[in-house]
């Protein structure tokens, strides 16, 4: 156990160190300054702008920026839906996989456009190589880049000196992909291949096992896909069981590299924020709040999994950590770390089956998603999500210092509060209202695999994951029923765009305000006290909203389990 704690500490140290460096690099990239890759990439960048008829000098206000985001995502959705539906006609389909059903294609297209990467399908059986690369792979890049661009635009709004300009979406998108995601993905993909992740266009391999059975081994251009799925907090696996699959995540090194890359960009955004608002303490405060919540969640999951399932001990006489749905090479510690990192970071990948985790571990994962994926969260999305809580925390407690609440010198007034409330409503709407429908409608209930409170956890997890744009699942839940593919598609859109648009509007409103210089009377937002306040806001608002439902799901399951009850 001491070793495990050292493992967690090393993981944190490496991730934070790399993120710190990356933040400095990203700061230069988004400011359009020269970086070491510029000699190679700058000509490509200019060519992109020329072709699209745009450029860094064409600054957009929040409406222009938001419309560009929506137009680009709409186009991406149409293209991906078409690719999935036309799967029979497209190349690189050695296994002759048939077109996807319309409702599943709708769900999958939305899932990847919204950076959710919920998989209601199994990759090996239902997707051709072409669909993986040209369909999903492209969205892995651009949906991540969309989130990052929006976050950068939102930060610009918070930092702006009354200009009302948030930047140019096309420029931010291009720079994100060219300078940040693509170079990192190339490095990551090569590392993964070296560890045994396939990267081929050849057909599935066929083997005759030692006992004489035929075994077909699914493969394909996996490494390139997996690299970006982690970096972009997408999480949509090449294979059905995602990074638990030994070909998707074969070694400890591949596992640690993926674990780091899951949190790399979300952590970097905290530091990037500090640089962009020219006060690194502000970024460190948000990092501290996220970091402490992260460690708290990890502690619960690790302790629960290590202790194991008391029912297996009492009923089957088997003791030990909870290994159901876990891989031997990862064991308890690395599975717990991954579960916390991915559910916190809105990365839908798994290296162990969340459905089979202990009830309180499931509770932590649910809370990570239900608070809106703001404990680091998705690339970009987690950060602007946390800024929503910052706005709410500052508004709630800021009044208590006897001034109109302000953040970074900008007053938080009616308009910002209205928009923040609208954005905040998307989580309870998508999780509670849609979840309640799913718990009521008979066609939906068929999806629930497990009896007892765990069944409710499965419903809650599905809709929390969709609305939070996480993408992981309590996979026993039969998400491919048309009821769920449709309703979850709507939940994913809600969680993405009903959040992006109001947050851009908040940034737009703030960008018009001239920041007031800080004084002793200013609400301090870089102190430990603020860190505590921010964490309390996240936990209390999240808890107040979802606690009743969680009580009937994972908490009820836990107390029943302690009482020796199974269902």
């Amino acid at each position: 156990m001491g070793t495990d704690l050292l493992v967690f500490a090393l993981y944190g140290a490496v991730t934070v160190a790399l993120a710190w460096g990356l933040a400095g690099y990203m700061h230069r990239v988004y400011a359009g300054e020269r970086v070491f890759l510029s000699p190679v990439l700058a000509p490509v960048e200019r060519a992109f702008y020329a072709a699209a008829g745009t450029g860094p000098d064409r600054l957009q206000g929040w409406t222009g920026y938001a419309l560009a985001v929506l137009a680009f995502n709409l186009a991406g959705f149409v293209l991906l839906f078409a690719i999935l539906r036309l799967q029979g006609l497209t190349p690189w389909n050695p296994e002759a996989i048939a077109p996807m059903a319309p409702d599943l294609a709708f769900n999958t297209a939305i899932s990847f456009v919204t950076n959710t990467n919920w998989q209601a399908y199994g990759g090996e059986g239902e997707l051709s190589y072409f669909s993986q690369m040209v369909g999903l792979g492209v969205q892995n890049f651009v949906s991540a880049a969309t989130g990052m661009a929006v976050a950068v635009a939102v930060i610009r709004g918070f930092a702006a000196q009354g200009t009302g300009r948030l930047g140019n979406f096309w420029v931010d998108l291009t720079r994100t992909v060219l300078y940040v995601l693509l170079p990192l993905a190339i490095l990551m993909a090569l590392l993964l291949v070296s560890q045994g992740v396939p990267q081929t266009l050849a057909a599935y391999a066929r083997a005759i096992t030692l006992e004489g059975a035929e075994q077909v081994i699914g493969q394909g251009p996996a490494a390139s896909q997996i690299a970006i799925k982690q970096l972009g907090t997408n999480g949509g696996g090449f294979f059905s069981v995602n990074s638990a699959h030994p070909l998707e995540n074969p070694t400890i090194l591949s596992n640690m590299a993926q674990s780091v890359s899951i949190l790399l960009i979300p952590v970097a955004f905290c530091f990037l924020f500090g640089r962009m608002v020219a006060d690194r303490r502000q970024g460190l405060a948000i990092f501290a709040a996220m970091g402490i919540l992260f460690v708290a969640g990890l502690s619960v999951i690790y302790a629960q999994e290590l202790a194991g399932n008391p029912l297996l001990a009492s009923e089957a006489g088997v003791t030990g950590g909870n290994m159901e749905g876990k891989e031997t090479r990862f064991g308890i510690a690395l599975s717990a770390l991954w579960a916390q990192a991915t559910t916190a970071a809105s990365n839908g990948s798994v290296n162990a089956m969340h459905d089979s985790f202990m009830p309180l571990s499931g509770l932590v994962m649910l809370v990570n998603m239900q608070v809106g994926e703001v404990i680091f969260g998705g690339v970009g999305a987690g950060f602007y999500g946390m800024l929503l809580y910052v706005v709410l925390a500052v508004f709630l407690a800021g009044l208590m210092v006897g001034r109109t609440p302000e953040y970074l010198g900008k007053k938080i007034e009616g308009r910002e509060v209205t928009l923040a409330v609208i954005a905040f409503l998307s989580m309870p709407l998508g999780i509670l209202v849609f979840g309640a429908l799913a718990a009521t409608v008979p066609q939906a209930l068929a999806a629930v695999q497990d009896p007892g409170p765990h069944g409710l956890s499965q419903i809650l997890y599905a809709y929390s994951s969709a609305t939070g744009n996480n993408g992981s699942a309590f996979a026993g839940f039969g998400a491919d029923l048309p009821f769920h593919t449709t309703l979850q598609g709507i939940a994913m859109m809600l969680g993405r765009f009903a959040f992006i648009v109001p947050m851009l509007a908040v940034a737009g409103a703030l960008s018009l305000k001239t920041p007031a210089p800080a004084s002793a009377g200013t609400f301090p937002t870089h102190t430990p006290l603020f860190v505590v306040l921010l964490m309390i806001t996240v936990v209390i608002l999240g808890a107040l909203t979802f606690f009743p439902a969680l009580l009937l799901g994972p908490i009820a399951e836990h107390v029943s389990m302690i009482a020796g009850q199974s269902f």
Binding site: F72, E211, P246, G320, L334, P359, H454
Partner: protein
């Protein structure tokens, strides 16, 4: 919206070209050149015949082989999957109890390693714990008619240590272990589930 349509379509087309085609194809080329074995599912050949992937579990049921962890996917490497049973699911508990009973019977032990009776995440977990392997060793040695000590030595030889001495649990790859057994401690008579079968 219309003013954004052109950049949207152009940008999407450029991104498809760059990230959907150029990137994965370039990576494929590079991977095939640099890491040909790994890039093609780390296949293992015996006598010019592919017997499986070093990374993917395959079914072993014969008493002379070490057995991998239970697979909810039935070792189908085109349809990976887990049980996804919740921890309070009575079916899970019944299943584990049944496997535990079978393990105790088969190996005449009281202690049951947890990984031997719980299904893995992928259904293709290539490893088992060292404890699991050692408890199976007696059965394997008996079936092969070799000293237990030799089988245990094979386990030790094939054991994989934690990365950097810290990361991950000690474990052994079942396919590699069974291949090593076939190489070094072959079956006395070519009957039953022989490798040539």
């Amino acid at each position: 919206m219309m003013t954004h349509l052109r950049p949207a379509l152009v940008m999407l087309a450029l991104m498809v070209g760059l990230t959907g085609l150029a990137y994965p194809l370039a990576m494929t080329g590079l991977a095939q050149a640099l890491f040909p074995a790994q890039a093609n599912a780390s296949l293992i050949a015996r006598d010019g015949r592919i017997v499986g992937s070093a990374l993917v579990a395959q079914a072993f049921t014969g008493a002379h082989y070490f057995h991998p962890r239970p697979s909810a996917a039935n070792f189908d490497a085109t349809d990976s999957g887990a049980t996804n049973f919740g921890p309070t699911n009575a079916a899970l508990i019944a299943q584990v109890a049944e496997r535990a009973e079978a393990f105790r019977t088969a190996h005449a032990v009281t202690v049951v390693p947890i990984d031997a009776v719980t299904a893995s995440a992928s259904g293709l977990d290539p490893h088992i714990s060292l404890q699991n392997a050692r408890l199976q060793a007696g059965r394997v040695a008996e079936a092969r008619g070799v000293p237990l000590r030799d089988v245990l030595a094979e386990i030790t030889a094939q054991a994989e240590a934690p990365w950097l001495g810290l990361f991950g649990d000690p474990r052994v790859n079942v396919l590699r272990l069974n291949l090593a057994l076939d190489d070094r401690l072959p079956l006395p008579a070519p009957e039953g589930d022989s490798p040539t079968g």
